[in-house]
Symmetry: none
Subunit: 252 residues, 3 copies
């Protein structure tokens, strides 16, 4: 008969836990798997978005391999969703970390497909499915998406960062892509800005995730805890403070 902890580890990681021979491994089993992953209040899929963001941002080679593999092989996240995640992650954590993640996803997927006797081809999305390409139309549409996601007015497209970056690419394209829901993108974004901890984006995305109702306060509380495990209590404390302040503001 296996312990609760062993079973929690196995359900999440899709592999046997290492023997808990050190204080770290012991805490990983008891705290991370038994006390965090096993909690109700946030689905395992959403805990995976937070975790994948944290380990991807931390450049931690083995945890990235393990969590990508576990997310795919559990069926919690499909390969197409995972590849869409990589693009969204790239926006918030930068290209280099995303580039590494993308390689891990492709290798994990190829390996799983070969093991299943399949070819594992990835079908490129047709350009025609990806929305507007005219610059003026994209800026206009991106401005509206910015408002819908952030619940504040969009900035004027005065600078390259706002114009070519935020309005054309991030909100004019990425947030509107069909591969992930806006709610999925909220979890990935909140975790990303919490790991990054620049003050303004952290306030903006945490506040709008709650204010829009896309993430409930109880779910946000779980995001904070999941992030504490994978990015540390210092970063989690900042997210916690921002979420509490946003929640008070929304309810007053």
């Amino acid at each position: 008969m296996e312990s609760l902890e062993t079973s929690a580890y196995r359900e999440v990681m899709m592999s046997d836990p290492p023997p808990a021979t050190t204080p770290f491994l012991d805490a990983q089993r008891d705290f991370v798997f038994d006390q965090i992953w096993s909690r109700p209040g946030l689905s395992r899929r959403n805990r995976r978005w937070v975790t994948l963001t944290c380990v991807g941002a931390a450049d931690s080679l083995q945890p990235i391999d393990d969590h990508v593999w576990a997310a795919l092989s559990s069926g919690d996240i499909t390969v197409d969703e995972m590849l869409e995640f990589v693009l969204h992650f790239a926006v918030y954590n930068g290209w280099p970390k995303a580039s590494h993640l993308e390689g891990v996803v492709r290798r994990a997927w190829a390996k799983m497909e070969i093991a299943a006797g399949r070819k594992g081809t990835i079908t490129p999305p047709a350009n025609s499915t990806l929305g507007l390409d005219d610059w003026d139309e994209r800026i206009a549409r991106g401005t509206q998406e910015f408002v819908d996601v952030n619940l504040i007015n969009a900035p004027e497209p005065e600078t390259p960062y706002i114009h070519a970056g935020i309005l054309n690419f991030v909100f004019g394209h990425v947030w509107q892509r069909p591969g992930l829901s806006r709610r999925d993108r909220r979890f990935i974004t909140v975790a990303s800005v919490a790991v990054c901890d620049s003050e303004t984006p952290l306030n903006a995305h945490t506040g709008s995730a709650l204010e829009s109702g896309d993430i409930t306060k109880a779910e946000m509380d779980e995001v904070v805890l999941q992030l504490a495990a994978y990015s540390g209590f210092a970063k989690a404390q900042a997210l916690h403070a921002v979420a509490e302040a946003a929640w008070s503001r929304i309810n007053n």
Copy 2:
């Protein structure tokens, strides 16, 4: 008569140095300003790209304010170049850190313009100056730019990250924008991937910067030292090792 150190600090930071009352401030004056910024072998403008990338990636509030202000007020970097830098930085370090930088740049610029009795308006670039907007054309052009920058074949546009991200946006647009030279973008990119330290992008961009001749080996050596000061010797050690390995490979 002022000491060499005071003068080095003042030339870079455009302000008086704090009195060196602690081990940190003492080392900052002697090591960072007298022994690093004062070195020949890399222009002050290029040391600024490296430094701005490091402080932006580190989310360090006061150093970001100080270095943005110093870069602008010294005239080493114009405001348009700085705003172009923010977009390039966003690609490699993620949107949230860039968003903070952009705010700092805009506030510093407004303050300088007001002090000079000017209005400091920022002129948004016309969409028509920004290159292709048709998806298929951008992917084709981005594929060529990828080759020109990376000196290897471009990946197939199979995934959202490669297709919408790398080929359409990063190489189909950002690297081709006229506001900064490719050489400028090399310094920003090498510093970014060194701070991020994902292995593949670090190898790829350091190697291609040297192989293309856009950055000489002697300049790269100075980049490593500048990065050691602003992102720490641990990250610099990785860049150093990668640059040495790339240089041997190129010369064999």
Copy 3:
């Protein structure tokens, strides 16, 4: 009567814990304070080095303020040691993060001194106490210190990074300064390279800390757990793996 958790929090943080109204605060109290800080096997002072490094590297504003204040007001770390820590931290995590830390230390110290009716002046160390300044002598001495700390041969001073950086400044000066012991510097360095997670410095410093006997294996196990709390389980897992591998190598 106060609970164990409340008491653990108060002893470490020198203030009352916030009421545990969310999953995060609950876990902070139970896991971080009751289950980690309360463990034997690593002194509270050494847990502070690890924690200060983690929160400093994470740029987490409130945790930095709280932990600096707690370390100073507990008497676990004197202000001179803390200022020496800032310099050592600067070397491994870069100047910008250290610059923020230094400001926090100075403000916390000034506030404590004012509250005690004292002036809180910080006495700069006399240059004459700080070792060699002739370049050739420093390179020679730095080469020896490199060997003593890293337990491997020093690299040739061929590049600016090795010459001006590693041999002249890092090992020719910082590691030899009298304000902290080599053992203190080991804890700060191991935590720094674990947060940074560049592979080569992580392997080198973790291995030499164990091989020199400056940090025992049981203490290193505690460092890993402390780091898991403050920089997340992903980074801790990498340190754990490196420490285990180094320990096997040393014992074979």
